[in-house]
Amino acid sequence: MSAPTALSKGKKAALKVVADHGVAAGESVAATPIPPEIEKIAPELSGMLRVLTCGSVDDGKSTLIGRLLWDATDLYDDQRETLERGKKVDGGNPDFSLLMDGLVAEREQGITIDIAWRYFDTATRRFVVIDSPGHEQYTRNMASGASHADVAILLVDARHGIKKQTRRHAAILDLVGVKRVILVVNKMDLVDWSESAFRKIEADFETFSWRFGFWEAKAIPTAAVSGDNVARASERMPWYPGPTLLEYLESLPSRVTEPTGPFRFPVQTVLRDSRNDFRGLAGTVSGGSVRVGETVVDALSKRSAKVLRIATMDGELEQASQGQAVAIQLDTDIDVARGAVLSKADARPVTARVLEARMVWLSETAYDPRGSYLLRTATDLTPVSTLKIRSLLDLESLEAHPSDACSTNDIAIGDIALGRPAAIDTFGDAPETGSFMLVDAISGASIAGGVVTAAKAEAAAADENSFVLTRAMLERGLNADLRDRPQTEAEFRRRANEVALILRAAGINVEIESAPDYSI
């Protein structure tokens, strides 16, 4: 049994309003019940699932999702009418793919080049459908879509089975951390509802999917055009006793059901209320949970404090768990600011200087070994002192081929040396503090998205060749106006980052001296 969390369905029962801390508890919501007729029309759904759909236009992806919306959900009448009025396809069925249409430009090209988000509700659950393009040249779009998903639907045509593209897609899903995969074998009508055709594809799927870190991989035979096994069990495939696609989706655990992994709290910003001497660290718990009274540590400064209060506008909490956005007040001021990651003492993130990473190259500009890059982690932005591409991953063979070049849609394996330490995990241990975006320091563009496979505390070997921006150097002129340290530390760091970037652009390897310890 999991400990009670404050986020409970439709009520604030677990919120304890504490009156004796001097801070008003905000407007706590009165206990007037929501009328039963509203619960019926708009229940507060007990969960959410984000579903990525990938496959190419030819596999009937838009039709599959359109069909799911049509059969299972709360489509509005005008949306239904649009379909009814539109041209009919395949034996008089509406063209369900129209429900998934997108930008005018894309409609004209007849392909989906960007990811689109759709929302629908069944009786118990919110489904978020993330529709991503299938073609190889859109690997990056698929990867970014997949990074938001709890489960992915891999769509194949029953006539063609698993293709190279299916393998590529599975590899991308694995890379960005999707743990549940459904292989939808569509167009079963075109293979005469043949069990042997399905079983062969299912066996192929099992053979290749075991290589990945998926927790669940399930194959379902469907015919989206007629709705067989989409939301309604197929009478034409009595040999398949398993769940329909919708049944299976409804049986999967909801997004954030219980805290997993070690406690992580990336600090977003510091909230102050001078009237009540309140200084709260605002953030979202990205892993595990924490209770009032527990000791937490800032990985970078190694200083610790006890959690005094967990504040929200709805009242105070005894505990904050993964997914909750709160403000944590500590019993002693340890000068934690944006970019810090709070953890428990026995399971800390690495104070990392060097990372090994896998990344999807998103930019249309190729990798430039002399480029100025920044690393955006959960809430920190760190200058990259060197980015070295070691190899590219072949998504079909899953082999790494040595390479020092990298461009759009490549999956690269590389080493990132940071200009100063940052609190980072490996993706496998704590996904939210183990993933990053590589940012172009000049244009601001998101260059690559990646996962950390190893994080090391020691500095890179090439240290003697780099120029160190010391605190004293920065304090003398550039930051002379920043007197109220540690309050101004964030601005101090921001300026240091910018100087480092300019120097790097001039070809100088730069390191920034760490902040002093203000605790004594």
Binding site: M1, S8, A24, G26, V29, T32, P35, E37, I38, I41, A42, E44, L45, G47, D74, Y76, D77, D78, Q79, G102, L103, D114, I115, W117, Y119, A143, S144, S147, H148, V176, P253, S254, R255, E258, Q268, L271, N276, G280, A282, T284, A311, T312, D314, G323, A325, A327, L374, A378, T379, L381, P431, E432, S435, F436, M437, A441, S443, G444, S446, G449
Partner: protein, 301 residues
């Protein structure tokens, strides 16, 4: 046993996270406040994100001069109640030229009295980020919108410049001349907005509730005559009808629906039981195919 977290709790936490990321990353953000139900939810979430501190940014209303009077009263009361730093901006030059929603085509009116003044206000105050209440479920072109939506110089939205967003990471580093629109309600649906208003007991503009109001039928739509600037055409007459509004905007462009729903509970029941999507009631959207996409490229929110 596993306890499930409601979808509204998940959405609320996500929105708070977005507000805090944007406030921390951008130099001078502003919240675009349009007084309607989405803005009401947006403002409430912003207050939650920074509580017990005050909102670390001002609130901007683009006033066309044609909003319902009840909207303006509600706006001013809200600003007072929550101690907001409210900025009201109107395109004075457009108003002086007499651009109005009755005599001008909706596309012209929207451009001059909404899009242009929004750009004027953002430029005047040098805001680099603007929070808006847009949702991905509203319209097809918005289904692909980012949480941080980048605008090139001149506030132009270019699909090619949009940055991929991965995991929960939000990259707010601006390139030269860029500004950003931030959409904390991206993943909410119309249903969620109403359900949340009910759950959080939020006040909304009384126009959402049914009351006897002076109305006229024009082009098959019910319009409310909020003041005498809406002159009658031959054959038209003012009739008091019991009506309410599903969306709020400029009164000559906002169709009313006949209704008896006069409490938040009955409105929610009626709205969510309704079988047409909300933008059907918004007259400007039917102007042309791909209308929203075009407006967006021109800088409309």
């Amino acid at each position: 046993m596993t306890q499930s977290i409601s979808h509204l709790d998940l959405l609320e936490a996500e929105s708070i996270h977005i507000f805090r990321e944007a406030a921390a990353q951008f130099r001078k953000p502003v919240l675009l406040y349009s007084i309607g139900k989405d803005s009401t939810v947006l403002l409430h979430l912003a207050r939650k994100a920074f509580w017990p501190g005050k909102l670390p940014f001002p609130v901007l209303h683009i006033d066309t001069g044609w909003k319902f009077r009840d909207m303006i009263a509600f706006r001013d009361k809200t600003a007072r109640d929550f101690g907001l730093d409210l900025i009201v901006h109107t395109n004075e030059e457009g108003a002086a030229r007499g651009i109005n929603p009755i005599d001008y085509a909706p596309s012209v009116y929207t451009d001059v009295m909404k899009t242009v003044p929004l750009k004027q206000a953002l430029d005047k105050h040098a805001f680099d980020a603007a929070f808006g209440g847009a949702r991905r479920d509203e319209e097809a072109s918005r289904a692909k919108e980012r949480v941080f939506s980048f605008r090139a110089e001149g506030h132009r939205w270019d699909p090619r410049r949009q940055r991929p967003e991965m995991w929960r990471l939000l990259n707010g580093r601006l390139g030269p001349g860029e500004t950003v629109r931030v959409f904390p309600l991206s993943n909410w649906t119309e249903r969620d907005v109403w359900r949340y208003i009910l759950r959080e007991k939020l006040d909304v503009v009384p126009l959402y509730f049914a009351a006897e109001r002076p109305t006229v039928v024009r082009n098959g739509q019910l319009l409310m005559r909020d003041d005498d600037r809406l002159t009658l055409k031959p054959g038209e007459e003012i009739v008091n009808r019991r009506v309410r509004f599903r969306t709020l905007g400029c009164y000559p462009l906002t169709a009313a629906v006949e209704s008896d729903a006069d409490s938040i509970e009955t409105v929610v029941a009626e709205t969510l039981g309704a079988r047409t999507s909300e933008r059907q009631g918004r007259l400007i959207d039917h102007d042309q195919a791909g209308a929203m996409e075009k407006k967006k490229q021109e800088g409309y929110f």
